[in-house]
């Protein structure tokens, strides 16, 4: 347990700001988690679960007097089935360590958030992390087969199994994305994916965004299912290239980055389909190995660093139906102009994610936040969501009413209470407080 001032301050913040919890407990087993949860439940002390604390939303920030339970000492890989393609790990195992463990057997763990070197599987489950590979491989909920979790009162819950269709599968999937408000996950069995023998990267610069969007739609329509499929607007191209030069054409209006995987014949055929969809006027650069493909993606991969180097910024993770990308980009331009901030946008062109980086002057935080909320609401108006990847946490809780009716939120809240009771687990997150208003 960590109870000193210095240690408590270390856990006061995640990727967002926060204040110190009463104390931090770092258990080493499910049984120890049960014991802590039982004690806190009996004492009426709320518990805030925490993985690596990499989230941007305040999802693991302490609220009020609470006990923080961290999983960083639960780092064992418990079992690996090389035929079935599953691996069982403790919640504190880092995302990338899973793939490292199974790599020699030909498998990998597909959900790949940008923070994969540091974020934990428990945290991934809390936010239902996806990443750039979501289009082809799904998010965490699609890649978890079994969970061990501890309810607020210390009860152990085992759901799912290494077989398909096991008791509790649905409840296990419900825990994915529940932001630690239903139970504290201690172990997970994860489904693995075969590593493709060939990985190619493609880079397609476009002179106008409409052409790029039409080409993206045609590629998906043709049945290509890329491993990664991102579309950068002009500002995002210049932001990435300035920080980490990779040969992106800085005067292009849009840049489509594609990663393909499969047999040689599959990636060749899909590369030809992509070139044809773009048309003869688009110069397609093809990287015919995993290393060269990674080099094409390097600029895009470091966009968070690029934005940070530029100064203060807010990163958005809205979601819209694919056919409304054009309208979403128009709305972003309007809102950025109206609020006096600079917007750079990357679309996960296959799953609807809109990552807009709003870069602003240090003294314009409130204005940038208003702009961010206006864009998030625009995503909802287009048929989408306020969050595609980061989750809701504290930062977007008041926007939930824009996306869901009162009846919908009340049902979600009843489910939360059915699991954890009032305020016992990660209180104050996700659900809007009617007393607050949204900055917009």
């Amino acid at each position: 347990m960590i109870a000193g001032d210095t240690g408590r301050r270390t856990y006061a913040a995640d990727g967002s700001a926060g204040h110190a919890p009463l104390a931090i407990v770092l258990p080493e087993s499910t049984e120890q988690v049960q014991a802590v949860m039982r004690l806190c439940f009996e004492a009426g002390i709320p518990v805030v679960p925490r993985g690596a604390g990499t989230n941007f939303t305040g999802a693991t920030a302490p609220v009020g007097d609470c006990m923080m339970v961290g999983t960083t000492r639960m780092r064992r890989i418990l079992a690996f089935d090389p035929v079935g393609g599953t691996v069982t790990v403790e919640a504190g195992v880092r995302n990338l360590d899973v793939s490292d463990h199974v790599r020699d057997a030909g498998w990998f763990y597909a959900p790949d958030p940008s923070s994969r070197r540091t974020c934990t599987i428990g945290g991934n489950i809390g936010t239902n992390s996806g990443g750039a590979g979501h289009l082809r491989y799904g998010s965490t909920a699609n890649n978890v087969t079994a969970l061990t979790a501890v309810l607020a009162d210390g009860t152990r819950l085992d759901v799912g199994g290494t077989a398909y269709e096991q008791p509790g599968d649905g409840i296990g999937r419900l825990l994915c994305g529940s932001e630690g408000q239903l139970a504290l996950v201690t172990e997970a069995c994860l489904r693995l994916v075969p590593q493709p023998p060939a990985i190619w990267g493609l880079m397609l610069p476009f002179n106008d965004m409409d052409h790029a969007l039409a080409a993206s739609a045609a590629i998906l329509r043709a049945g290509v299912l890329p491993r990664q499929f991102d579309l950068l607007d002009g500002a995002a191209i210049r932001l990435c290239e300035a920080h980490n030069p990779c040969g992106y054409l800085v005067d292009a209006a849009a840049l489509l980055l594609v990663e393909l995987g499969g047999l040689d014949e599959e990636v060749q055929a899909h590369a030809a389909t992509i070139s044809a969809a773009a048309g003869p006027d688009v110069p397609v650069r093809i990287a015919r190995s995993a290393e060269k493909a990674a080099a094409l993606w390097r600029g895009r991969s470091t966009i968070y660093g690029a934005a940070a180097r530029r100064g203060a910024y807010i990163a958005l993770d809205g979601a819209v139906p694919l056919s409304t990308f054009g309208s979403a980009l128009d709305r972003i331009a309007v809102e950025a102009g109206a609020h006096g901030v600079t917007a750079a946008t990357v679309l996960h062109a296959g799953d609807g994610t809109v990552h807009t980086f709003l870069m602003h002057a240090p003294d314009a935080v409130a204005r940038a936040q208003c702009c961010a909320n206006a864009i998030r609401k625009a995503c909802v108006e287009l048929g989408g969501s306020v969050s595609s990847e980061y989750g809701v946490g504290l930062s977007k809780r008041d926007l939930m009413a824009a996306e869901f009716d009162t009846i919908d939120l009340a049902a979600q809240d009843r489910v939360r209470l059915a699991f954890a009771g009032v305020g016992a687990l990660n209180p104050g997150k996700v659900f809007p407080d009617p007393a607050r208003t949204v900055a917009a």
């Binding site: 936010t127 509790g168 599968d169 999937r173 419900l174 609807g352």
Partner: protein, 351 residues
């Protein structure tokens, strides 16, 4: 941007029962009582499909062709299950009517969203326990360019899961892997020696290259026959026994499916082992005379359910008190005025 995205202007397609379908969104929203067949027909017209391949008949669907609500409520999935997931994986939004008359919406209609609790995940497979499913939104995918089915002779069922894993790890675009015991192959009109079915899907050059790996030991099935064959595998109607027999459906870790099927065959059962080992349909004609429940018991990671047969053939289920208590709390949360049996009637056949 002046005109925004050109495809913005495309009007949604709305045949009867479809609430919203813009093909380039790769999402379809339908009323719960829309027949699965109607949705599949619309998708086919636009070169798309429900990737999880829900069956439209068979022993699990005794009430007749399923509606979209049934697809979700029973979490249906066909032979593509290990490669593309099940109904729960593809269900991205749902509307649920409870006994209070509330319509609860969960999820949305974008391919990805993490805002709020994804109640659809627990509604899928709930058999209507949490309320009546009045609307569903599923992710859809483009149909691949080419499909090829191979019959691979002389594959021992014990070695089947490892063989399929080996081909997957070689990067082959496998989207179906099934093993048939001799009697099942015979009833499907295949020669008994043709024991393993492999389906490959993707661009033509990749499918050709993948098929070539199987060499002389494999026979290619024609396209029309291939479609019928995979439908038959998914529906498993061929596994229904005559009077006095029994049919079990066993889900098992894929690596164990081969040894389980072999042990059952040694007791005189016919087996259809799908999902690359993860699903074993077990048919035993004259079930009273040859008890095989001890074979299931030897695989504690498996879940065996009696689909049809004498009550004595029901495998014991391990009690799950914590889970049962939580499931009941969930029902009370989602359908406070409902009863245990609420929603069960929606499992009926399509109108």
């Amino acid at each position: 941007m002046g005109m925004a995205n050109a495809i913005d202007t495309v009007a949604p397609i709305r045949p009867r029962g479809i609430v919203r379908y813009v093909p380039d969104d790769f999402v379809i929203t339908a009323h719960g009582d829309t027949p699965l067949a109607a949705v599949e027909a619309v998708l086919r017209d636009h070169g798309q499909r429900l990737d999880f391949e829900p069956p439209s008949a068979g022993p699990l669907l005794a009430d007749g062709p399923p509606t979209m609500a049934t697809v979700a409520a029973m979490n249906l999935a066909g032979p593509r299950r290990p490669f593309s997931g099940d109904a729960r994986d593809a269900l991205i939004g749902v509307r649920l009517a409870n006994a209070d008359g509330d319509i609860i919406r969960a999820g949305g209609r974008t391919l990805k969203s993490v805002a709020g609790l994804d109640l659809g995940k627990v509604v899928a497979g709930s058999r209507g326990r949490f309320g009546k499913i009045v609307e569903v939104t599923f992710r859809v995918r483009a149909r691949p360019e080419t499909r090829c089915t191979l019959l691979v002779a002389d594959t021992y069922v014990e070695a089947f899961p490892a063989r399929v894993a080996k081909e997957m790890l070689a990067g082959l675009p496998v989207t179906g892997a099934t093993h048939l015991s001799a009697g099942v192959a015979d009833r499907l009109g295949l020669t008994p020696a043709d024991t393993m079915l492999i389906r490959l899907e993707g661009p033509a050059p990749a499918v050709r290259a993948a098929a070539a790996r199987f060499g002389q030991g494999a026979t290619v099935v024609g396209n029309a026959a291939s479609r019928d064959l995979w439908r038959a595998v998914g529906e498993a109607t061929v596994m229904l026994p005559p009077a006095g027999g029994a049919l079990w459906r066993v889900t098992v870790p894929p690596a164990e499916g081969g040894t389980l099927a072999a042990a059952l065959q040694a007791r005189g059962a016919e087996t259809l082992t799908d999902w690359r080992g993860g699903l074993v349909w077990v048919r035993l004609d004259g079930a009273e005379r040859t008890p095989i429940l001890d074979v299931f018991a030897a695989h504690p990671s498996a879940t065996a359910r009696l689909v049809t047969g004498p009550a004595a053939a029901t495998p014991p289920q391990a009690p799950t008190p914590a889970l049962d208590a939580l499931s009941e709390k969930l029902r009370q949360a989602l359908d406070p005025a409902g009863s245990e049996r609420a929603g069960i009637h929606q499992m009926g056949s399509a109108p």
